[in-house]
């Protein structure tokens, strides 16, 4: 009996401790999320009530050419960023890891610096550097390609350029994760391997790579989620053009909701994007974990 009251007391304490979080979570996340799902089955405007239209928004979505283009572009962007940024971050982390003391801190700071910039500053910097008329990088482009290229107005250049800017901006965080991962690998393993006569390549392949794999899988998954949510850079640099070649799903959500006042349809797109991200990230993480166990 005494135990039971004790348990009840513990439950009450536990509940009161988690209550602030649960309530905040329910208010600012759960409730809006449920509203979004409800909204996606209506034809409501951005503000105000609409009528229940069942799956109309979703069937319309499947035949919306722009949606398919956006989906494709999202995929292309993920392809251009996720693996490259992870590989680059790993290389930089391996190099920084070889440095010592304040030099290491300095190198880390330099690579981390872009990450602390707000996206509007990042896009301003790159718009200026790549400006068609007077951008400082245009002579470089002209040297390699024979003429200046208006990178954000050219259907072939636009996505790779936005991807490059994104990698430059966000890479520092991944470097940090890899550095943390590298520091977690005990030195003993390297010493033991070296005693057995392992070469540098073997050290990396047999010790670093497998022991770093959990971090690599985490970085890949985080990047996948982040890059599927691309919006800011596209909105600020290209507005989806030219010829919709950089149109992505979140831009479509924004246009439908705020420009065209289609709250219901925008919610349906947002919901699909959410499902895509959830499915892909779970799938990817499971696959990567399975890959790591082998």
């Amino acid at each position: 009996m005494a135990m039971l009251t004790n348990r009840r007391k513990e439950m009450a304490v536990a509940a009161s401790l988690v209550a602030p979080f649960v309530l905040t979570f329910a208010l600012v996340f759960l409730y809006p999320a449920i509203r979004l799902v409800v909204l996606s089955f209506t034809n409501s405007p951005l503000i105000g009530a609409g009528e229940w239209v069942g799956f109309d928004n979703f069937t319309r979505l499947l035949s919306d050419k722009l949606f398919l283009t956006s989906l494709k572009n999202n995929g292309y962007f993920v392809f251009l960023t996720v693996i490259p940024t992870t590989a680059i971050a790993l290389c930089i982390a391996l190099m920084i890891n070889r440095l010592r003391g304040s030099l290491q801190a300095l190198a880390l700071a330099i690579f981390f610096l872009p990450y602390i910039l707000p996206v509007s500053v990042v896009t301003q910097i790159w718009t200026w550097m790549l400006d068609f008329q007077f951008g400082v990088l245009q002579p470089v482009i002209a040297f390699f390609f024979g003429k200046s290229v208006a990178v954000f107005k050219n259907p072939y250049w636009v996505m790779p350029t936005v991807a490059m800017v994104t990698i430059w901006w966000t890479n520092g965080f991944n470097v940090l994760l890899f550095i943390a991962g590298l520091r977690n690998i005990p030195k003993d393993y390297y010493e033991a391997a070296q005693l057995d006569g392992a070469t540098r390549t073997q050290l990396f392949r047999r010790v670093t790579w497998p022991l770093l794999w959990p971090v690599t899988a985490l970085v890949l998954t985080l990047q996948m989620i982040l890059q599927l949510k691309i919006f800011d850079q596209i909105y600020l640099l290209t507005k989806g053009g030219p010829f919709n070649s950089s149109y992505v799903m979140l831009l479509m959500v924004y246009r439908e909701a705020f420009q065209l006042n289609h709250g219901g349809y925008a919610s349906a797109i947002a919901l699909v994007l959410f499902i895509v991200i959830a499915a892909f990230s779970v799938l990817q993480y499971q696959l990567l974990r399975a890959g790591g166990r082998r």
């Binding site: 951005l46 068609f132 107005k153 053009g241 010829f243």
Partner: protein, 422 residues
């Protein structure tokens, strides 16, 4: 001690309030640059002349941000008392239900009558049922600015150094070629890498061809598709011949003309003050003029839009406050000559036909464009910050730079816009 200071401060604050309680009017607009300076001056003048009404103005960002804020604010009843509104945006505004009706009584309160406005502007400010939902303030358009330096010795300048002899596309292109030969870097400057500028030039050419962007519920129906392709082809041709700047942003396109590197500029009347100021300062270095865009393609017409004043729906205006708002609107209309200073043509005829306006140059030269102006199609996908503007930057601009054939671009425009319209 602190207490006494506080009372003293309160007493002073109370003393500064005029004896009669003033009506506080919340005002939203989207004017920046030269427009913004002139609008703020007008508001300051109004406040000085009216001790019983006080306008508190807020300037928000032009385009989608402004209209999104209006829509959400009105929906929850937190809109301003009066706001500026583009008439091209009227169909979407009516569909969203963000605009209150301007009744005949309101107009009387403002000291205005319907027939004192240009019919085209009045029609654009009315719903399909003929009810007025905004009071037109101006008509603004694009005009053809010219720099006489590059045209000297050609048949395109008359004895007084005024532009002459451009009555079709062939003439204009001949003038462009002549200016190129005379060393103009970009004979005709407009922001080829910007949505608004590209759209305005496209729509002017397209309308001059007799094109209809939207008929009924169809985008570019029938041979309108060919006409759109033709307009894009003309713009592409200007690019191929290097007569227009490549991928020019708005500021760059203005700078090309003001720095004397362009013979012509197809730009909004709102840049007139820029030119006037530069000339006054003596830093222009050439003689300039502005005329309405010549008839290049067969019909005399130019893209145009209007700024107007509107009262948001879902407001909680008391009859007294509503009357004060109308007093503001009426006063602005009657003092529109100060607004014409920003290049615009007043929509209020007593001002537009006044001797003072007729003396105003170059406004008086191009004012006739108001009679033949082409407003945006009446559709919820047209107007400032609409999908049609998006199509200009997304499709027309890259197409004129050679990334797509004119016909393919017109077809994509049709399919993209049709997709939004359905």
């Amino acid at each position: 001690m602190l207490c006494r200071k506080f009372f003293a401060a309160t007493a002073i604050a109370l003393m500064s309030v005029p004896a009669m309680a003033a009506e506080n009017i919340t005002w939203w607009d989207f004017f920046s640059g030269g427009d913004g300076v002139r609008m703020k001056a007008l508001i300051t003048r109004f406040n000085a002349e009216h001790p019983d009404i006080k306008i508190t103005g807020t300037t928000l960002e032009w385009g989608v941000p402004f209209y999104t804020k209006v829509r959400t604010a009105v929906a929850v009843g937190q809109g301003p008392d009066v706001m500026t509104y583009h008439l091209s945006r009227m169909p979407l505004g009516l569909k969203e239900g963000v605009l209150d009706e301007v009744t005949d009584k309101d107009l009387t309160d403002a000291g205005l009558t319907k027939d004192s406005f240009f019919p085209a502007a009045l029609q654009a400010a009315s719903g399909d049922d003929g009810k007025l939902h905004a009071v037109p303030f101006d008509i603004h358009s694009i005009v053809l600015y010219y720099n006489t330096k590059f045209l000297e010795g050609s048949k395109f300048l008359d004895g007084n150094g005024k532009l002459t002899g451009i009555s079709n596309l062939k003439d204009f292109e001949e003038a462009l070629a002549y200016a190129k030969e005379k060393g103009a870097e970009a004979p005709v400057s407009y922001a080829t890498g910007d949505d608004g500028a590209t759209y305005r030039v496209f729509y002017t050419l397209f309308r001059q061809l007799g094109g209809e962007l939207i008929t009924g519920n169809e985008v570019l129906a029938g041979d309108n598709l060919q006409k759109a392709a033709k307009a894009i082809e003309v713009m592409t041709n200007w690019q191929t011949n290097e007569w227009q700047p490549e991928q020019a942003e708005y500021e760059a396109s203005v700078a090309l003309f003001t720095s004397g590197k362009s013979a012509f500029s197809l730009n909004g009347v709102w840049e007139v003050p820029t030119m006037v100021d530069l000339e006054k300062k003596g830093s222009l270095g050439y003689k300039w003029g502005a005329v309405q865009v010549p008839n290049l393609m067969g019909t005399q017409t130019t893209w145009a839009d209007s700024h107007s004043f509107a009262i948001p729906a879902n407001n909680k205006l008391t009859p007294e406050k509503r009357k004060a708002v109308m007093t503001v609107i009426g006063w602005m209309e009657k003092n529109a000559i100060a607004w014409a200073d920003a290049g615009h043509i007043p929509a209020f005829k007593p001002v537009a036909e006044s001797a003072e306006f007729k003396k105003m140059e170059p406004n008086a030269t191009y004012a006739a464009l108001a009679d033949t102006a082409s407003y945006d199609p009446r559709s919820s996908i047209a107007g400032v910050g609409s999908p049609i503007y998006d199509a200009a930057i997304n499709i027309i601009s890259p197409a004129i730079h050679g990334y797509a054939e004119p016909m393919a671009a017109a077809e994509q425009m049709k399919s993209d816009l049709q997709n939004v319209l359905k």
